[in-house]
């Protein structure tokens, strides 16, 4: 038999079923916890980030007053225009970009940029019959906007591609509150009292409460009319290739345009910071889990191997070499740890499903309107794999080494 160690190892696994089960359970619990706890939170935050990132441009260029302050020359330039100085005190005025086409031309060579779309975004009211609701009104050029933000994936009824000057797309919660459906007409009113009567052509559901309850899309032209912007826009939304490069690209665009540039990473800084803080805590928790599981596994292995001293002596008297004796126990440990890893993944998955059902039962969540999809974090699945194999190897190597180096007579008499 080429690998008699395997043969003996599996015989022992079966013969010492109780210890095998104890070790497997100990490792399984460790694996499940190592994966489960971070997966809940990373799924939750990840979901929040996914939804935030996918429902807003990666980078937004706007014009703000502090841009003037930083840029002395343009500050002077604009200051020469006394009317602007007055208008600066008006929120809506100071944020406008007059020549968005020029800016888009200025930055279009930037490597990372995949798509750009000008937009108008202001607060207004949506009225249908007796219902009146505040909303974030976003005026867009649908062909451009849908390339920057995948709005179409959130459309649950109707569409957005054909958003014309007389059309509007609204969030699903808002639609419910207004009792509005595709085909109904609603009125949009801006802060200066300019109104437009528009037809609902689509309903969106993003899963983000802030969007579903407050977001509406109109055509850029309608937006400019309602908010009395003439041909100006509030900003330009940009989609980039690698979203984690957003801060770098934003800095570059700031340099080129001298305008205010925000990246999704800055906008979601709180969530990202929270994730990093959380990961730190997890390192600590996982260390405790690993330490306690590892020490219990080690003690079981020490007992198991000590109880096999006589057999080890017998095997050695027949010519089994030290490394073979060790292999017999390490194979058992490895097999159990792999088995426990698979079981641990299954347990983690079940625990996540159970947790999701708890959240679903609780009904409301606070930042998102649906239960996030709880996925096993691949990163922690890998960590758990190393944990399970490394601890079991360590737990078996030391006692089996000690047992293997006994001389056969000592071992037999042990």
């Amino acid at each position: 038999m080429r690998f008699y160690e395997l043969f003996i190892a599996f015989k022992y696994l079966k013969a010492n079923l109780r210890q095998s089960i104890i070790i497997t359970i100990a490792i399984t619990i460790g694996v499940a916890l190592i994966i489960w706890i971070p997966s809940i939170n990373l799924s939750f935050f990840g979901d929040l980030i996914d939804k935030s990132v996918s429902s807003a441009p990666n980078i937004t260029i706007t014009k703000e007053l502090d841009t003037f302050k930083r840029n002395k020359s343009s500050f002077d330039l604009f200051f020469a225009d006394r009317t602007l100085l007055l208008k600066d005190q008006v929120q809506t005025r100071k944020r406008n970009i007059k020549s968005y086409k020029q800016i888009m031309n200025q930055v279009k060579h930037v490597e990372q940029i995949e798509a750009m779309a000008p937009f108008v975004s202001e607060q207004g009211f949506i009225i249908k019959a007796a219902e009146e609701r505040g909303a974030q009104v976003r005026g867009i050029i649908p062909e451009l906007e849908t390339k920057v933000v995948d709005i179409e994936k959130d459309i649950i009824r109707g569409g957005i591609k054909n958003l014309g000057i007389n059309d509007i797309v609204i969030g699903v919660t808002l639609a419910e509150k207004l009792n509005a459906e595709v085909g109904d007409r609603v009125t949009v009113t801006g802060p200066r009292g300019i109104s437009r009567n528009l037809k609902v052509i689509g309903i969106i559901s993003t899963g983000l409460r802030s969007k579903d309850e407050f977001q509406v899309y109109v055509s850029l032209k309608s937006g400019q009319q309602v908010f009395d912007l003439g041909n100006d826009v509030n900003g330009i939304g940009i989609k980039i290739k690698d979203i984690y490069e957003a801060n770098k690209v934003a800095a570059e665009l700031r340099e080129i345009t001298g305008l205010n540039v925000d990246s999704w990473m800055e906008d979601n800084k709180q969530i990202l910071d929270q994730i990093n803080r959380f990961k730190l805590i997890i390192v600590f928790i996982n260390f405790l889990i690993i330490f306690s599981a590892a020490s219990s596994i080690t003690s079981v292995f020490i007992m198991l191997i000590a109880s096999k001293a006589k057999e080890i002596g017998i095997l050695k008297s027949m010519g089994a070499k030290n490394h073979s004796v060790m292999a017999i126990f390490i194979i058992q440990a490895l097999f159990l740890s792999l088995l426990a890893y698979v079981l641990g993944i299954i347990c983690a998955k079940l625990l996540l499903m159970w947790y999701a059902s708890l959240i679903a039962q609780a009904g409301e969540t606070f930042l998102t309107s649906e239960v996030p999809v709880f996925r096993i974090s691949p990163q922690y699945a890998v960590l758990a794999f190393f944990y399970s194999t490394v601890t079991s190897i360590l737990a078996s190597v030391i006692p089996s080494y000690q047992a293997a180096k006994l001389n056969p007579v000592e071992a037999i008499n042990a």
Partner: protein
């Protein structure tokens, strides 16, 4: 009677074994002994005289404190653990006082174990193991595990295991102590048969005078020293 017995198999030169401890035990004292290939040798002596110790040293299971042990002209103190293990596997069969079988494995698997450890692959070996088990009268217990067998049956499995790899020497430390007279006699006859047919060397520790008398040579140990080394006239 024994052709080729002139060849020296084992040579002990001034072997001492001292068990260290609070009270060191000088278990073997300046042992000098030459054993030829094919010999059938018994060792007798009172309890605690050092018989088992000598078997362990001879069987490379334990190392002497001083002195030299030669196997087929080679000095074994230079061998490392691996070489000793390989030598034990190929050339030595060991039968202990207590049967010392692996309780998780069937009789057949126990007998095959030395062969498994050799890592050879030969499908005929299972048949050989079965034959040996038949030889020791256990052909109906192939798949029984040690806890299901009697002491005598287990000892016979251990004997079969010692013969499995066709070693050049079998060490048996009171192999029939737990067996009834008839079975003991049968087993001795079996040893003798294999000894004469295969020229396999047997070194047997025994308390039973009448069995010891059947050997070619009797060695008597008292207090760690050989006090008698007698070649039996009937075999000369």
């Amino acid at each position: 009677m024994h052709s080729g017995a002139e060849k020296t198999l084992i040579k002990m030169e001034n072997i001492n074994k001292i068990y260290k401890g609070v009270q060191p035990v000088h278990a073997l004292k300046d042992i000098n002994l030459t054993i030829r290939k094919g010999e059938f040798l018994t060792i007798v002596g009172p309890s605690g005289s050092g018989k088992s110790t000598m078997m362990h040293v001879l069987g490379l299971l334990d190392t002497p404190t001083s002195g030299k042990l030669h196997y087929i002209g080679q000095e074994t103190s230079k061998w490392n653990e691996k070489q000793k293990a390989e030598f034990r596997n190929k050339e030595i069969g060991f039968i202990f006082q207590a049967h010392l079988l692996l309780p998780e494995f069937t009789a057949l698997e126990n007998v095959l174990m030395p062969y498994y450890i050799s890592r050879k692959t030969n499908s005929k070996m299972k048949d050989r193991a079965k034959e040996i088990l038949m030889l020791v009268g256990l052909s109906d217990k192939l798949y029984s595990k040690p806890p299901q067998l009697s002491g005598g049956q287990n000892q016979r499995v251990a004997i079969a295991r010692a013969l499995m790899n066709n070693p050049s020497v079998v060490f048996a430390d009171e192999p029939t102590g737990a067996l009834d007279q008839q079975t003991s006699a049968d087993i001795y006859n079996l040893f003798r048969k294999i000894n004469s047919e295969e020229n396999m060397t047997f070194i047997i520790v025994t308390h039973e005078r009448n069995l010891a008398q059947k050997a070619d040579r009797i060695i008597e140990i008292v207090d760690g020293k050989i006090i008698r080394d007698e070649i039996m006239s009937s075999y000369n």
